[in-house]
């Protein structure tokens, strides 16, 4: 048993900047990630605002074509590598995983801290690329454009390469933590579904990210020495690059969405006060998604000139990966049945996720079908689709999780009223921006266009105006969250009536997480047996 003075927690246990920079506490590392992920999101969002502004009219408004290309490259690369891939696992996941399984820390705390510093180190490369003639390749770095353009591709690629290792080390840490650090009695099927989701995510991180690493390394050396594997001028094959790239980047989509689905499972049970419907189905579907996600990357290459056989296989398998996702959605809805639904801010984001992710999913079915994809590929339809899944899915879940665990992280409550207003702005703004882009895509508007035909202007202008509404929503959120840190009401240990282990310790938790190692003797969501 640990001896802890009353009022001590992981935040005030030790003081000073140095105590944070050298901390091995998973909670502090999670919070530091959170800070830098928020900064990255703001930066990526700023670029998005700028490039949408440029698209207000056809032709030049503020930026040249080259600057516009750099803007969308930076927006994509920052949002993917610095924000969304680490968003839920590295920040919320780091904070939460040991708490949810009743452990004192992750298995390798020093590795965890080095992951964080690798993240910072990679971020520095990306920022350097930004000031030293930003890359204009798009975040996909397709060859041979990326091997021939004169912008600073190498620093951006090296940045992504290093960020990849940060992600790999987080994945290794989580796998070992989940295998070896569970509290007594916490069998695999007593783990919260968030832990299952993080586990499935970690599997993908460990298996897919090395291939991205080698791909980016090959690209760097291609530029430096001309290895020629991806360069058609030297006898190489640009389609091979696309295979390499998407072998990581398609599973990476599930690195982004799986933890989000984990958050959803937590939110729906807690705010419906209901045991989850289909626990095993949800747990297994996470694993199924993780594995099948490796078999579908070729659906990014339907018109690229890959063989028709490959296209056929990839399309077929793409439909198989859609099923487990659909199963999860149905399970969440069934969970609400006969519950006691408390519509608080986190639950609002649950609803937002459900609404937006379904739209993203249905349009994904269109893109997965071969003949239809030929028409829609590389149009705004694709842009809208992945923003609905990534932003409408992952970001909404991230915000839901942030609001849900905020009291646990900081011991402070935020204003529910302000949260509702921000949510409203975000929902309206998001749909203004991106639903419009579905329409643009069906009309045949190609993506990554600096200028466009006059007839597309009304839709583009409407989409751009939506970005401002969206921005207002995020500004309100930033304001009330910071406000809560300063003047927020003290949070109780369990403000929402959650049953998982993190709610059984104080808010914020002590450095060692629990006074005594918890002993688990029940399933995670037995709301019918336990009354909170």
């Amino acid at each position: 048993m640990s001896q802890v003075a009353v009022g001590t927690n992981y935040i005030n246990a030790t003081k000073g900047l140095k105590s944070w920079l050298t901390t091995l506490d998973h909670k502090r590392i999670g919070i530091m990630y959170l800070l830098f992920i928020a900064i990255s999101f703001a930066l990526g969002g700023f670029f998005a605002l700028a490039l949408r502004l440029e698209l207000l009219n056809p032709g030049k408004l503020l930026f040249s074509a080259k600057q516009y290309n750099q803007l969308f490259t930076l927006h994509g690369a920052i949002m993917v590598f610095l924000f969304i891939v680490p968003s839920i696992p590295a920040s919320i996941g780091n904070f939460l995983l040991p708490l949810q399984i009743g452990a004192k820390d992750v298995a390798f705390p020093k590795l965890n801290l080095s992951s964080f510093y690798l993240y910072l180190f990679g971020a520095i490369f990306c920022v350097y690329s930004m000031v030293a003639g930003a890359a204009d390749t798009g975040w996909t770095f397709y060859t041979p454009y990326s091997t021939t353009t004169d912008t600073s591709v190498i620093s951006m690629t090296l940045g992504a390469f290093i960020l990849g290792f940060s992600s790999i080390f987080t994945g290794i840490n989580f796998i070992v933590t989940i295998h070896k650090m569970r509290a007594p009695g916490m069998s695999w099927f007593r783990m919260p579904l968030m832990v299952w989701a993080l586990y499935a995510t970690a599997i993908i991180q460990v298996l897919a990210t090395p291939v991205l690493g080698i791909t980016l390394l090959l690209l760097v050396i291609e530029r430096v020495a001309g290895i020629g594997i991806f360069d058609p001028a030297l006898g190489g094959d640009p389609i091979l690059f696309q295979h390499f790239f998407w072998f990581y980047s398609h599973p990476a989509v599930y690195i982004m969405i799986l933890p989000a689905m984990g958050v959803m499972s937590e939110l729906v049970t807690t705010f419906s006060k209901k045991n989850i419907f289909g626990y095993k189905m949800i747990a297994y579907s996470s694993l199924a998604i993780a594995i099948i996600s490796f078999l579908v990357w070729g659906h990014h290459l339907f018109v690229s000139g890959q063989s028709d056989y490959a296209a056929m296989i990839f399309s077929l398998l793409t439909y198989l990966v859609a099923i487990p996702s659909a199963v999860k959605v149905f399970n969440w809805i069934a969970t609400m049945y006969k519950g006691e639904i408390d519509i608080k801010a986190p639950f609002l984001y649950f609803l937002a996720f459900l609404f937006l992710f379904c739209i993203g999913g249905f349009t994904g079915i269109m893109l997965g079908s071969l003949s239809l994809d030929v028409y829609l590929h590389d149009t705004y339809f694709v842009v809208a689709h992945f923003h609905y899944v990534m932003m409408g899915g992952t970001v909404m879940a991230f915000l839901g999780g942030l609001h849900y665990w905020w009291p646990k992280m900081f011991g402070k409550m935020y204003s529910e009223g302000a949260a509702f207003v921000a949510w409203l702005f975000i929902m309206v703004g998001f749909n203004m921006v991106f639903f419009t882009q579905y329409l643009l895509g069906t009309k045949g508007m190609p993506r990554r266009y600096y200028s466009y035909l006059d007839q597309f202007q009304p839709l583009h202008a409407f989409s751009t105006s939506g970005t401002w509404v969206l921005t207002i929503g995020f500004l309100i959120m930033a304001f009330y969250l910071v406000e809560s840190l300063l003047n927020g009401k003290q949070a109780p240990d369990n403000p929402w009536g959650g049953l998982t282990l993190e709610w059984k310790t104080q808010s914020p938790p002590i450095t060692e997480n629990f006074l005594d190692t918890p002993i688990v003797d029940s399933d995670p969501y037995e709301y019918d047996k336990v009354k909170v």
């Binding site: 070896k180 007594p184 001309g226 389609i239 295979h243 072998f247 063989s307």
Partner: protein, 128 residues
Amino acid sequence: MSAHSHLDGHHSHFIVPVRYYVGALISLLVLTVITVVVAQFNFGSFNLLIAMLVAVVKAGVVISIFMGLKWEKGFNRVAFLGSLVFLFIFFLFVFSDVLFRSYRSPLEATQINLKSPVKKLEPGSGHH
């Protein structure tokens, strides 16, 4: 309650007898010699097959004896062998594309009646 069997405090390591290691060393050295000798003869496309077979056997020896996977249990095995499965998937799907796309097909080139669009590398000139 298998989840917390690590809490029972028991800690002992299985020590592998030296003869395993010596045996592995000898077989690896012998296999290396075999693969080198075989490569001196031309068996056509079988050369690759033989070389790869020998390499796989050697890899098996290193993995099971030196790395001790033979005595390893449960997940460590699944993890490592699983990685090979995923690597195979990568290989298989990439080749499901390249093998069937008539890449640089001579037939196609004559149909279209065009020279290869690849620039020839001049001897001694280097590229770019």
